[in-house]
């Protein structure tokens, strides 16, 4: 985690590579959770880092480099999810019945509002602090706490509802 907390770290391609290698599995887990599949998640991580490299000039001082890279990956994963949902909609034929009711853990988590869901992923899978989550999601620190509390309470309630 030294990189996450080191404002001295240069904004070089090498530094981004170090973030990638050190945190690959955390990026992958969050991206998969957002994008909805391991393949899309992996693609989002690779694409997010490629675009972070490509747009290094646009990195500014409001966030740490690691936070900025997280934003690139999260946005790439959101893009992948949107494309996936679009493809799914196109695949569903008129005769197929889509069940409204949540039928699994994935559905329960998917039923949370996007901001709550992403905050949970960043907290639990990436172990990011509130400040970093705030920067990635474009919200403020106090809002992160409230968002996570709501998400956890909501998820606990939903889990209880469906437990035997």
């Amino acid at each position: 985690m030294a990189t996450e907390n080191d404002p001295d770290a240069g904004t070089t391609a090498e530094e981004i590579e170090r973030l990638y290698r050190d945190g690959f599995r955390r990026y992958l887990r969050v991206a998969e959770a957002i994008a909805g599949s391991p393949e899309s998640g992996l693609d989002a991580v690779q694409e997010g880092f490629a675009r972070a490299l490509r747009n290094l000039d646009s990195f500014r001082g409001e966030a740490r480099l690691s936070t900025w890279v997280w934003t690139c990956v999260v946005n790439a994963a959101k893009g992948a999810r949107s494309r996936g949902e679009l493809a799914l909609v196109e695949e569903i034929s008129d005769s197929r019945i889509v069940e409204d009711r949540p039928s699994g853990l994935s559905d329960l988590i998917a039923s949370l509002p996007e901001r709550q869901r992403t905050a949970l992923f960043l907290r639990y899978y990436a172990d990011l602090d509130y400040q970093a989550i705030a920067a990635v999601l474009g919200i403020r620190v106090g809002t992160v706490g409230a968002t996570l509390n709501k998400a956890q309470a909501s998820l606990r309630r939903k889990l209880k509802e469906v437990s035997p």
Binding site: R21, A33, N55, E62, S82, S163
Partner: protein, 344 residues
């Protein structure tokens, strides 16, 4: 419906997406993708030139020189035309994102900005749903700034600080240029003509975000020694905000009413911070001095060390390996004030 009995959210999330140890990082693939992104523009250019050739310019020497000159003149004229159009657009205040191939990633980029690079459109929840109002203006370290706020389409109160002579409202819906910052948002229940929410105040009584004065790219030398700033919304009852930095420095600043454009019972606070001054605690206090609400940001030892090094760099000194932080006495300030107590 059958479900296992998840005892905690953590357990549920653990089984939702397990860690994938079987997939290894592939940095070469990242580099290849990055090169592909870099090649996008020349590829298009090549195709365009191919099209020009296909449309049949004879390859004789004279004709070719004339043709090239004509192309240059046409190109310059086109640039001048685009420049004029952009200038007029900016004057009229209708300038919208023109980021072309320069997709900007990171907190500065509105989510919808991915369209140009093949990503799907994502709702731009942080875009203004109504007027953008000026909360305050001022000058920090020789840089003029404008703090503006608005209600977003996502139902939040958003604010952002711009280090320009005048407010650029469109900056909130396009990738940030130097001197601009992306808006940060806090949930609020409001009544807006286009949105069906009930009218309420902030859901989070105090919130904040901090940045570097000038919103400079962090790798620029100037950014390394530049003071910071903190801004945020507070509930209407708050009159003073107490800000504590990681080293114990305390800054107190008065709150100011929200601009009329927001039409909300709430206030804002803002203050410059010493270079390297990372905020760990903010409190909203009413006129009697009672705490209304507070937000804390505890630091890990690694983080603490990182911020100590930043502050030492601001002061132009090298930190010895065993340095520890020190607390200092609080100081009161007018809005936007700046306490250097305990700061380099």
């Amino acid at each position: 419906m059958k479900h296992r009995d998840y005892s905690s959210v953590r357990e549920a999330l653990s089984s939702h997406v397990p860690e994938r140890r079987e997939i290894d990082p592939d940095w070469e693939d990242v580099l290849a993708r990055e090169r592909l992104l870099t090649l996008e523009r020349p590829e298009r250019e090549k195709r365009r030139l191919g099209f020009l050739r296909a449309t049949g310019t004879p390859h004789t020497g004279t004709r070719r020189r004339v043709s090239r000159r004509t192309l240059i003149i046409a190109f310059v004229s086109l640039i001048a035309l685009i420049g004029s159009a952009l200038a007029i657009g900016a004057k009229l205040g209708v300038l919208y994102p023109w980021d072309g191939d320069q997709t900007i990633y990171g907190p500065q980029m509105p989510e919808g900005g991915y369209e140009s690079s093949g990503f799907s459109q994502v709702p731009q929840a942080n875009d203004p749903a109504g007027d953008v109002g000026v909360v305050a203006t001022g000058n920090w370290s020789g840089r003029d700034w404008v703090l503006a706020a608005y209600v977003s389409r996502g139902g939040d109160v958003c604010d952002g600080i711009q280090f320009e002579k005048s407010l650029d409202v469109n900056a909130f819906v396009r990738p940030a240029a130097p001197g601009l910052s992306p808006p940060a948002c806090t949930p609020v229940r409001v009544l807006h003509p286009d949105l069906a929410w009930s009218t309420e105040a902030l859901l989070t009584p105090i919130d904040y975000h901090q940045g570097i004065v000038g919103n400079l790219p962090i790798y620029e030398d100037e950014a390394q020694t530049q003071p910071g700033y903190i801004v945020g919304p507070v509930v209407d009852e708050a009159r003073v905000v107490r800000i504590e930095l990681y080293d114990g420095t305390v800054i107190e600043t008065n709150t100011v009413p929200a601009p009329a454009a927001l039409d909300l019972p709430m206030r804002f606070f803002y203050s410059a911070l010493p270079c390297g001054g990372f905020v760990v605690h903010v409190e909203a206090r009413d006129k009697k001095g009672s705490i209304i609400d507070q937000v804390s940001m505890p630091l890990s030892p690694d983080e603490l060390r990182g911020y100590q090094e930043t502050q030492a760099r601001c002061a132009g000194i090298t930190l010895p390996p065993d340095t520890t932080s020190t607390a200092t006495a609080p100081q009161s300030q007018a809005p936007g004030g700046f306490s250097s107590s305990g700061a380099p």
